[in-house]
């Protein structure tokens, strides 16, 4: 299709206006985080870039300063630790399982894979209550916040879909070479499967970073509280210090934004490809 300059200008104009409206809440969040609290909830002037300072950020870092309130870096540390364990652990465990189930041939392999697909139908929400009951004596631990999320049926499915598309000749070659299934997997399959590792990692990270339901049920102690749960507690304390809540919000979303900025392409590809195939 040919496009005249006018046409192109109109395209940009429409897109820009829409995108601007769409991003307004994000702008409001960022601007507000640099403004004094009484200037945030202040009608449309909340958008004016006046009275800007870093005061809210230093206040957030300073005001969480006792065991009763928790410490900001502690919330951040908990969130980072949980994300690292769930993402790295998940990549190892689920990719191995996918390889064992999708590429090795053994009796019962089909049945086990069918079981995994069946478990994929069970959303976490459907097991949250019994898990809460089963592990009630382990509330307020890091362990119980991370371990249930490492094994993930959907990740296994994503890995398996990718592994199945690898031509068998590649493995044959390695195996004739004398490499066993483990070496074949770690030395041949893993290095050539970077795209699927990237997209599984990012999807897992995103889900884990925003995880809320499970911490609501399992965590009350500020020392093991992840960021999303803390912002919910923080915004519920009256009177609300809006400047600080928004600064907290920016700090909460910053790690995901960084990951998003660097791995955007993988993410979008991963989401798209798994969907189109599924």
């Amino acid at each position: 299709m040919t496009r005249t300059p006018l046409r192109r200008f109109l395209d940009y104009a429409v897109l820009s206006v829409l995108a601007f409206i769409f991003v307004l809440p994000v702008l409001y969040l960022i601007l507000g985080s640099f403004k004094p609290s009484d200037q945030v909830l202040n009608g449309l002037t909340g958008f004016l870039p006046t009275h800007l300072s870093l005061a809210n950020y230093t206040a957030v870092l300073d005001s969480f300063n006792s065991d009763a309130t928790g410490y900001f870096w502690r919330f951040m540390g908990v969130s980072l630790l949980l994300a690292t364990v769930v993402v790295l652990g998940g990549m190892i465990v689920n990719s191995m399982a996918a390889y064992g189930l999708a590429r090795l041939r053994w009796k019962g392999q089909r049945a086990v894979f069918a079981l995994v697909l069946l478990l994929m139908l069970v959303p976490f929400e459907a097991v949250a209550v019994p898990l809460f009951y089963m592990f009630n004596d382990q509330r307020n631990t890091i362990y119980i916040q991370a371990v249930p999320f490492i094994a993930n049926a959907f990740s296994i499915y994503q890995f398996a879909t990718f592994f199945r598309a690898i031509p068998p000749s590649i493995e044959e070659a390695a195996r004739i070479d004398g490499a066993g299934p483990w070496r074949t997997f770690f030395a041949i399959i893993v290095p050539m499967s970077r795209p699927v590792f990237a997209s599984v990692a990012i999807l897992t990270f995103l889900t884990q970073w925003g995880s809320f339901l499970w911490p609501v049920l399992m965590v009350s102690d500020p020392s093991v509280r992840p960021l999303p749960l803390e912002i919910s507690v923080f915004q519920g304390q009256m009177p609300v210090d809006w400047g600080q809540v928004l600064a907290f919000g920016v700090l909460l979303v910053l790690p995901v934004l960084i990951v998003f900025a660097f791995f955007q392409r993988w993410f979008v590809q991963g989401v798209a490809s798994s969907a189109v195939k599924g």
């Binding site: 991003v23 390889y99 139908l121 209550v129 009951y133 999303p228 955007q264 979008v268």
Partner: protein, 329 residues
């Protein structure tokens, strides 16, 4: 890198079927060992899935037949279908749960078509070869990476009931001062509408990306052919675009309806801090969590969980069937 002899033979092994066939003799013992390796490789993940998905799921069904309370000195007693009877037909106890079901249904009925439609419109709009189109795609995708708890906090400010709330003061300006402050989150009708709007804002980018990938798989020649046939833009959309992304569209509808029954975070955050009308926005998951956590009533919460799962399965089956009948056309 020097390799041992079989390696050199390996690549050619695929092209010439005979050498490949000869290598079959050492295969059976290897396949036997595959049994051990396959199981060992999948063991850690399988253990996790069974322990944290399989067992608790079965346990939920079992618990739903008992009267179990957390921290109660009384031993759990068998309750039969009493929990379900209470949820659905008990005049004193079924109210909040039935309301939650209705709210969830309302949410899904609005969000599924609106969010899918919006995502499709955005995907079509962004499916062009323009400079910096990637920037626009990223901007629409941006809210997806925001944790829902934070999204709820931002919208709590936008919808604040005071005259200083962003929406209220914008309407005040637009209406030349005739608009009085309105309590968006506190009014039953607008409370649900608010939850719907903020959920769509956060999620639409995800569906958009999936649909965009679907659109990009439609061969450009189809549009060129349609253009030669003097097909209008609408006709192109109707006869080239829609059939081309049918599968993707069904997937997106399925995903969106499943997600819309899992709504919890935004309702919880806004009820706790934002003065959100609880009655008008409680969802099935919200009901399950408050029943388990605030009332310690594990038996009833498990029954809610089972109902939730049955809804999810029903939706999946209906949509599977829709895909199948559609493919037979």
């Amino acid at each position: 890198m020097k390799t041992v002899e079989p390696a050199a033979a390996a690549p050619s092994g695929r092209d010439q079927s005979r050498p490949a066939a000869r290598t079959r003799s050492p295969r059976p013992p290897r396949r036997n060992r595959d049994w051990v390796h396959g199981l060992l490789m999948s063991a850690p993940a399988l253990t996790g899935l069974i322990a944290f998905v399989g067992v608790p799921f079965v346990y939920a069904v079992v618990l739903s037949f008992y009267n179990v309370r957390l921290g109660s000195p009384l031993a759990p007693t068998f309750f039969g279908l009493e929990q379900y009877r209470r949820l659905f037909t008990d005049p004193d106890m079924s109210g909040p749960f039935l309301r939650a079901l209705l709210n969830n249904l309302t949410f899904a009925v609005v969000v599924v078509p609106v969010q899918t439609g919006l995502a499709l419109a955005l995907a079509i709009l962004l499916n062009r070869k323009l400079k910096a189109i990637g920037v626009f795609r990223s901007l629409f995708f941006l809210p997806v990476v925001f944790p829902m708890a934070l999204v709820a906090v931002i919208w709590r400010l936008i919808l604040a009931r005071s005259g200083d709330g962003l929406l209220n003061s914008a309407l005040h300006v637009v209406s030349f001062g005739n608009w009085g402050a309105f309590d968006w989150l506190g009014d039953g009708f607008t409370a649900m509408a608010s939850i719907i709007v903020l959920s769509i804002w956060q999620g639409v980018g995800f569906q958009m990306v999936i649909l965009l990938a679907g659109l990009q798989q439609i061969p450009g020649e189809l549009y060129e052919a349609a253009e030669l046939d003097r097909a209008s833009r609408w006709q192109q959309f109707r006869h080239v675009t829609l059939p081309g992304i049918r599968g993707t569209l069904v997937f997106v509808v399925m995903l969106t309806s499943l997600l819309s029954f899992r709504v919890f975070d935004q309702v919880y955050v806004l009820v706790k801090g934002g003065g959100l009308d609880e009655e008008a926005t409680r969802t099935v998951m919200y009901q399950a969590v408050t029943t388990a956590f605030d009332q310690n009533n594990i038996g009833q919460a498990s029954a809610i969980t089972v109902v939730f799962f049955l809804i999810v399965v029903a939706l999946t089956l209906i949509q599977r069937r829709a895909v199948r009948t559609g493919n037979e056309d």
